[in-house]
Amino acid sequence: MTLVHVPRPPQSALNPDRPVNTLLKAQIQHLHEAERNLPPRHRTDIYINAIKTEGEAAEYIRRVTTAIHKAHEEAAAKRGRGIVIAAAADDGEGSGRRRTTTAKRKHKAAQGSRRS
């Protein structure tokens, strides 16, 4: 059996300040469409035309994706069904989420592609 070594990307691969690409712009646009159908309490106050970087895009995408899951969970709870939506609970979305400092980012960037 062959064991193939897989090199990790360099720490310079990580760049949340990279300008948002056309794919992420489209994803934002689609989520914005979806957000307009959410109950007002679940909507963000983010002006999507001001999103310029991948990090900013990621934050908007996280908030709306989480809001969609939560809106469905609430609706399911009201119907008395116990729909389990595991995806919404994966990464601690919500008010307690912390931003990582630049120093922490640089430190963790040295540890590989998924830095934990």
Partner: protein
């Protein structure tokens, strides 16, 4: 019944982003001449008229910036070389010209011809050489991501050739709906990387059926606990972002994201399946790219059965309507299973992303309608597990499971 098909319980599709076959796997022709990749005869003219040959000079990051144009008009130029006459013939001669249009830099435009050397991509090239690589798997549309990904979910893009796929209540059900509403019921899941990366299928599935989604961590858990659904579709991480477990580097390989991060991700998916022996023997994994991302490939996309939709001249941006009667540019596609003979090259058959719902439907459900004309006519990459199976078409053909499959040190 061939034992590989008899054992098959799970099909997993991992769809990466925006790289052409020649760019990623073209180097393998030197290893196995059956693989239709880079040869000395290939080239593209630049805007000075000089012939630019493919060279193994691709870099992991920083080379294809700006992101090469891969929207419908640009791909039309790449495929037809700028010929807009009624009887034009596709020649794959417009890639350098197309990339030149973005920066007006002759030297930079030539980089669209670069490809990766085999040793730069140890994961993808190992998988291609160890399992089944497809010589003719094309994007479904000569256009961008979201309409191409729609073919993997629905077997059609509902007439769209762009990113503005805001369809709802269209006639064709998603492959997930078909499976979960079947009798007997099947299971299906879309695993996005995490909620911060989310999905590229938003305005129908995420918005209306978020319960279909899981995270990549859930995929890993489902693999280790033996709870993988019948059908799984995995999306890579589309962005560099923070998470509670640290920093996440985009793993989709979309230019200008790092290629090695994508290699790690592909290896991680493979390992997750392989490390559960029961799952390994009962699962087939397809690794495929959504479209070519504007990057050079030499194979002319063939004509195909028209879809029942037509994109208007205004929507295509070329001045011509499009009947979905031609495939997009060729992309890497590899089918992985321990029941596949080492070094299999699938040649003489044409596949596109409509082959994904076509295969899943035929394998798990059998006859099913309605399906789009494109999906109905698409070839399948796994035969249904009913007799008789045509041995020439069955890729999971070994009488005994392989024990020599590679492992990746991730």
């Amino acid at each position: 019944m061939p034992p590989g098909l008899d054992n098959l319980r799970h099909i997993v599709v991992l769809m990466m982003e925006n790289r052409s076959f020649d760019h990623m796997l073209g180097s393998l022709t030197a290893v196995n001449p059956q693989i239709d990749g880079i040869t000395d005869q290939l080239g593209n003219p630049d805007t000075t008229g000089a012939l630019i040959k493919p060279q193994p000079l691709a870099q992991f990051q920083g080379q294809l910036d700006p992101d090469p144009d891969h929207h419908f008009p640009a791909v039309d130029l790449q495929i037809f070389g700028g010929d807009t006459s009624p009887n034009r013939v596709a020649n794959m001669q417009g890639f350098v010209k197309s990339y030149f249009n973005q920066q007006k830099d002759v030297g930079h435009s030539q980089k669209i011809m670069y490809y990766f050397a085999q040793n730069q991509l140890p994961v993808l090239t190992t998988l291609a050489l160890e399992f089944a690589v497809f010589n003719r798997w094309f994007a479904s549309i000569p256009g961008p991501t979201i309409c191409n990904r729609a073919f993997a979910h629905y077997g059609t893009s509902f007439g769209r050739v762009d990113m503005n796929l805001l369809y709802i209540n269209e006639p064709f059900k998603s492959i997930y709906d078909r499976l979960i509403s079947a009798n007997p019921k099947h299971t299906a899941k879309l695993y996005y990387y995490d909620t911060t990366s989310s999905t590229m299928e938003i305005t129908n599935l995420l918005e209306n059926q978020p319960e279909l989604f899981g995270t990549y961590q859930q995929f890993l858990n489902d693999c280790s606990t033996g709870n993988l659904p019948d059908y799984s579709f995995i999306e890579p991480n589309f962005s560099d972002h923070d998470s509670d477990s640290g920093e996440e580097v985009a793993s989709d390989q979309h230019p200008d994201h790092n290629i090695q991060a994508g290699e790690l991700f592909i290896a991680s998916v493979y390992n997750a399946i392989k490390q559960n022996p029961n799952l390994w023997q009962s699962t087939a994994l397809l690794v495929v790219y959504d479209e070519h991302g504007g990057i050079y490939d030499h194979v002319v996309p063939p004509a195909c059965t028209p879809d029942q939709f037509t994109a208007s001249a205004n929507d295509t941006g070329t001045g011509q309507s499009f009947a979905f009667d031609r495939l997009g540019v060729r992309v890497p596609a590899i089918l992985i299973s321990p029941w596949i003979p080492k070094g299999t090259v699938v040649d003489g058959r044409v596949f596109d992303h409509a082959s994904i719902p076509a295969t899943i439907t035929k394998f798990f459900l059998g006859d099913y309608s309605p399906r789009s004309p494109r999906e109905t006519s698409a070839d399948v990459f796994i035969e249904p597990n009913v007799q008789p199976v045509d041995p020439a078409r069955n890729l999971l053909s070994l009488a005994a499971m392989r024990t020599d499959c590679p492992d990746f040190d991730v």
